[in-house]
């Protein structure tokens, strides 16, 4: 087991390096000058060159990359061009807010996804299956930003039950776990949970249907196991795959959603990323993408490890 763990961690390192290279390259490939947001319209060429030197944009790409990655390893992701604040401080605040949103969305999405998936798979081709499948297909297909707007129109603008924007009456800086703050999470979390719910439900349905068609299920029934006992075996057999899908989905949710966080003005990583893109704030953009991508890599690693604990056959593979 230890050897397996070590192997997985070592395999992650080149992935992380690749992710860093892609993050760095992506923002440099995109058209546009990063200094546009800070340079006055009448700025001289001298001033532009001076700023390029200060931010290090005049150096060769490989040198910029090494300096950037070197500082990132020490926890310094640079300074936002647009605001002059440290990228790390901007990012840590946004990550905290996204974590709150992602936790709620995960809970809602996984609960309903698992429920619909198992029910639809177990009672496949019945009316219950059709209803559960329909809900999951809608979940995957509906554009979530559109759903967010519709929810805002109904529950905020028309009925006035829930707030339309923001992270609480006093903003995210004094977040509390009370109703006044939690009511701000409901609409964005529901909107965000729809896609993972659909994906998890569809995966689990297919998985359950596949497991039920295997011979050992017939064997279990022949041994005289009741439906409840068979169901438990199905759940245990489906868990590793379901977990892998959920891990990836949680990774997506932790990355925040530019569209949902913009619609609800939720000050998370997606909102920050959207701002960074529109302001062409290179250090903020690179730092945010890097941290989110690393989250994903680490989360994949964690899922792999948990999967191998649940299903020892994976370790031997």
């Amino acid at each position: 087991m230890l050897l397996y763990l070590l192997r997985r961690v070592v395999f992650t390192l080149p992935t992380m390096f690749g992710v860093a290279v892609v993050c760095f390259a992506l923002v440099h490939i995109a058209p546009g000058d990063p200094l546009v947001s800070v340079l006055p319209p009448d700025a001289s060429q001298d001033l532009k060159l001076q700023l390029m030197t200060i931010y290090g944009f005049d150096r060769p790409y490989h040198e910029q990359f090494l300096r950037w990655i070197g500082r990132a390893l020490q926890g310094d992701l640079g300074t936002s061009i647009a605001t002059g604040r440290g990228v790390m401080s901007e990012l840590s605040r946004a990550l905290g807010n996204t974590l709150i949103l992602a936790t709620f969305a995960t809970f809602i999405g996984f609960f309903f996804g698992t429920l619909f998936g198992f029910v639809a798979g177990y009672f496949r081709n019945s009316a219950i299956d059709r209803i559960a499948s329909l809900i999951s297909v809608i979940g995957v297909s509906v554009p979530h930003y559109w759903l967010g707007m519709v929810l805002v129109i109904i529950f905020s603008a028309q009925l006035g039950w829930l707030p339309a924007t923001g992270a609480g009456p006093g903003g995210s800086s004094d977040w509390k776990w009370d109703w006044a703050h939690l009511r701000h999470v409901i609409l964005p979390a529901v909107t965000m949970s729809v896609i993972p719910m659909g994906i998890v439900a569809r995966t689990i349905r297919a998985l359950v249907a596949d497991i039920l068609s295997q011979e050992f299920v017939g064997g279990l029934r022949a041994k005289g196991l009741l439906d409840r006992g068979v169901f438990l075996h199905v759940v245990k057999n489906g868990a590793p795959t379901a977990l892998a899908v959920m891990g990836l989905q949680f990774g997506y949710l932790l990355g925040g959603s530019i569209l949902i966080e913009t619609v609800f003005s939720w000050p998370g990583t997606g909102f920050l990323l959207g701002n960074a893109i529109f302001q062409r704030d290179l250090p903020l953009l690179q730092g945010t993408i890097l941290v989110l991508a690393m989250f994903f890599v680490v989360l994949n690693l964690a899922v792999d490890i948990v999967q191998s604990l649940l299903d020892p056959r994976i370790q031997r593979a």
């Binding site: 340079l39 009448d42 700025a43 995210s172 959207g274």
Partner: protein
């Protein structure tokens, strides 16, 4: 730099100020809370409200929803589509003209179709500004030049910018073009950015208008910051992709921002933002400026010279095709419910 950066980041937390409002609480990118400055010298102008909360909501639909749900008391720049709904809910919409132009900057480099003054005039006469005003829910003022006629820099133009399709068609025929034998132009546009409102729909209307007189417009759509970068780089740069015009919107509050930076021959790229390489002798300063400050000074001299020689008229009409002047608009709740604070 590290320490200085930290200090700069902490500055808003303890900002003092000497105006009627003081900053009380500040969360970057989220909110700023202001309280009255009880020690403000002018007692008559001391705020009556206990607190003002400012929330940045970049998305117009989100702003509008926040107002409709009662979460805020007023917003700036509501989504134009939502204006009838806001009015029907008893909101008050306050408007004011502000100096912000939405223009097509023409390329005057060799080979540009806009070098022909007849084509430029025809295009100006073809744009249906009434339809454009309708498209934007009445939230624009049709332009008569690069500054409004009320401006001291407007001058006395001989060419009146209006809609006259017959005259436009005649001018195009003189230049050798018609609907059957159209002139093709390439225009850089963006889908959002700055205060452009609905740039795609607005540009499509212009495309349709110009099509009527035999100008076929091909769009080169760019992301806003890429457009700004190519604006700085100039029409000859590869980033402008051989386009004959670019479509940046900009503030125009003084001669420099409204006229000089676009037209001064001393501000050709990469020195300045004269994207189209407009080089009328009367706009070019005697000695090339070397830095920002001197650029401004010499440009101002150039501007004064230009205005005295009344070439403003020609500059504003012939180098620009169509500009819409934005209106600042603000929607607020009509009912004066008592509250401890006003949120913006």
């Amino acid at each position: 730099m590290g320490d200085g950066r930290q200090e700069l980041g902490q500055f808003p937390q303890g900002a003092v100020g000497h105006r009627p409002w003081k900053l009380d609480k500040y969360t970057p990118r989220e909110r700023a809370e202001l309280v009255p400055n009880a020690a403000y010298w002018d007692a008559a102008r001391r705020p009556k409200l206990e607190r003002v909360v400012l929330l940045p909501l970049p998305d117009p639909a989100a702003r509008t929803a926040a107002l409709l749900s009662g979460q805020v008391d007023w917003i700036e720049a509501p989504a134009p589509d939502a204006i009838p709904q806001l009015k029907s809910r008893g909101m008050v919409i306050t408007q004011n003209v502000y100096p912000h132009n939405w223009t097509w900057h023409f390329s005057r480099v060799e080979g540009s179709p806009w070098n022909d003054i007849r084509v430029r005039k025809a295009a100006n006469l073809a744009v249906d500004r009434v339809a454009m005003t309708e498209l934007l829910g009445g939230l624009m003022v049709p332009a008569k030049g690069m500054v409004p006629p009320s401006s001291p820099w407007f001058g006395k133009p001989k060419f009146d910018i209006k809609t006259d399709l017959a005259e436009a068609t005649k001018l195009m025929a003189e230049a050798g073009y018609s609907k059957a034998k159209p002139l093709t132009v390439k225009a850089i546009i963006s889908l959002s950015g700055s205060g452009q409102m609905q740039p795609l729909a607005m540009n499509e209307l212009i495309q349709q208008n110009l099509g009527e007189i035999g100008i076929k417009v091909d769009f080169e759509v760019m992301e806003w910051n890429a457009l700004l970068s190519s604006w700085r780089a100039g029409a000859k740069d590869a980033s402008s992709r051989g386009a004959h015009s670019t479509n940046s919107s900009y503030f125009s509050q003084d001669p420099f921002t409204a006229l000089i930076r676009h037209l001064d021959g001393g501000l050709l790229p990469p020195r300045g933002t004269n994207w189209g390489f407009y080089t009328m002798p009367r706009w070019t300063p005697a000695s090339p400026p070397s830095a920002t400050r001197s650029t401004r000074r010499s440009s101002s001299r150039s501007s004064r010279r230009c205005m005295r020689s009344s070439s403003t008229t020609r500059c504003s009409c012939s180098s620009r095709m169509m500009s819409a002047r934005g209106r600042c608009r603000r929607a607020s709740r009509a009912s004066g419910r008592r509250r401890t604070g006003t949120r913006i």
